[in-house]
C-alpha cells in the first residue's frame, strides 16, 4: 500500500501510472482524507513488494513531470501543429480524392 498527498499528486498522474505498470501489477486507487491510497497487486507471485513500490513511485514521479512538461508546452505544441497543417494544402484538398469521378 502506498499513500500520496493529494495536495502534490494529481489523480491523473496516479491513473496514468497504474496504466503504465499494468504488465507488472494492478493498482487500486482510493481517495481518503488528504491522501490517495494505492494498493498494489503484483501479477507475479514471486514479485518483491518493495521493488514494486519503488517501481510505482518512480512511475508516478515521471508522470508528474510529464504532465508538467505537457501543460507548459501545450500552447507551443498547438501552435506548431497549426503552422504545420496550415500549409499542407489538406484543407483545400481535392474533395474528389475519396469520391468517385
Amino acid at each position: 500500500m502506498l499513500d500520496f498527498d493529494r495536495a502534490t499528486v494529481e489523480l491523473d498522474a496516479l491513473q496514468r501510472s497504474a496504466y503504465a505498470v499494468a504488465a507488472e501489477m494492478t493498482v487500486d486507487i482510493r481517495a481518503s482524507g488528504a491522501e490517495y491510497t494505492c494498493t498494489l497487486f503484483p501479477r507475479s507471485p514471486d514479485a518483491d513488494g518493495d521493488e514494486l513500490k519503488h517501481r510505482f513511485r518512480s512511475e508516478v514521479n515521471d508522470q508528474i513531470l510529464r504532465a508538467r512538461i505537457a501543460k507548459e508546452t501545450e500552447p507551443l505544441r498547438n501552435l506548431i501543429f497549426a503552422l504545420a497543417f496550415s500549409q499542407t494544402g489538406l484543407v483545400e484538398a481535392d474533395t474528389e480524392t475519396a469520391t468517385e469521378a
Partner: protein
Amino acid sequence: MTSVIKLERSATTLPPHAWQLLPMRFHRLDANSVVLTNLVGEHVFVTPDELVSVADGTCADQELLARLRAAHVVQVPGETLPTELLAMKLRTRLRRLPDSTGLHLFVVTLRCEHTCRYCQVSRQSAAKSEFDMTEETAGRALQLAFRSPSPYLKIEFQGGEPLLNFPLVRWITTEAKRMNAGHGKDLAFVIATNLALLDDEILEFCAEQGIHISTSLDGPQDLHNGNRRRPGQDSWRQAVAGIRRVQQRLGPDRVSALMTTTEASLDRAAEIIGAYADLGLQAVFLRPISPYGFAIRDRGGANYDVERWLAFYAAGLDQIVELNRQGIPMVEIYASIIAKKMLTNADPGYVDLTSPSGIGIGALVYNYDGDIYASDEGRMLAEMGDHTFRLGNVHDSSYADVMLSDSLLDPLTESIALSAPMCTTCAFEPYCGADPVFHHATMGDFTGHKALSAFCRRNTGVFTLLLRKMRDDAYFRDLMWLWTR
C-alpha cells in the same frame, strides 16, 4: 579590395529560467541516462539530474543548453524560428498522407507448392486453379489502384506462390503499363516468390519489365528447409539457385530476401546473417513471426516471447555491425527504417511504423476472389474467419466505398498514436506506429493496452537498443547515418 566577413559565435549565456521548454518527451534508457525527444523525434541524451534541472529552469550547463536549443527541445522566449522549423519538419514527416495509397498487393493465386510451417494463409494445392485470380478481377483491381492519388504505385504480386499463375502476372504488368500511359505515375513491380518455379521465360520477362524479386531466405540450409517444406525438401537449394540467377540476369540490386524468425532461429543469428553474406546479399530484415492465421498453431514456430526475439535481434545486429567493421556491407532493414525516423525528417512509409496506421492508406490488398483488405495481415485474419479488415470486393465496391468504409476509418481513427493512452507521453511516438490489425488480433481492440502490448514491448525494446548503441558507439551512430541514405 577584399572584404572579410568575420563570423563570431555568440557566446549566449542563459541564466536560470531564461528558456522555455518546447514540446518534448523523455524515456529512461538506464539508471544514468535519459533520452529527450522533440515533437519530430530529434533526440538528446541527458542524465536524470540534467532532465530535472532543464525542466525546473535551474540548469547552468551552457553546453547542454546549447545542445537542447539546437535540437529544438528548448528555446529562448520570443524566438519564432524553432517553432517554424518544427512545423516544417512535422509537415515533412506527414507529407505522404495526402498521397495515399502507394502499395497494391495482388494475391494472384492461393496455390502453393510449399507447406511452410509458419504460413499465415490457407494455401491450396498446386492443382486447384479455382483459387487463381481471373483477368476480370485483376482488371477491376487495377482500376481501383489507379484511383489512388499517389504519384507512385508499387504493384506487388503475392500468393500462395504467384509464379503458379504467371500468365496473370504477365497480364497485370502489361495492362498496368498500358493504363499508366494516361496517368503518368511512377510504376514499380515486385514479385514475392519462393523462386522454386523460376525459369528463363519468367526471368526474361522480369528483365524486360524491370520487375524486382523479393524472396524468402531463413538462413542456413537445415533451418530454411525445416521452416519451408516442399516435396524433395529442396526449398533452400531452389531459393539460393534462384537468387544467384536473378543476381546474374537482373543485377544484384534487383533481388532482396526476407527471413522469418521461428523458435529454431533464435540461437542462430550469426549463421543466418552469414548465409545472406555468402550470397552477396547486402540487406537482411530480422523479422519476428506474425501472430496471424496458421502461424500461431503449435507447430507454426511462433512459440517465443518478445524478450527472446529482442535477444535474437540484438545478437543479429551485433553480427551485422561486425561485418561492416570488416568491410562487408550489410544493412539490417528494420534498423535502417528506424534510423530514417530517428535521424531525418523523412517518412520511410513502412506500414507497421506509421501513425496514422498504414492500413488502407499505405497499402491495399486484392485477394484472388476480389475481396479487398486493408493489409496483408487483415487478409490473414480473414483466412481464420475474422473479416474485420475486409473493405469490399472489386466487383461491387467503388473507390469511395473502400476508402470511406467504416472498416477502414474506424481502425485508423481509433488507433492514432498521438491520441492513444501511453503513446501520447511516449518519447518514441515519433518513431513508432499504430498497428490496429495486430492489436485487434492479439487484444481485441484497435488501440490495444500498450502496457500489455507485444507490439509496444518489441518496438520499445528495439528503439532503446538502437539509442543506447548510438549513444555508446560512434561507429554504430555513423552506420545508422549511412543507413538513412
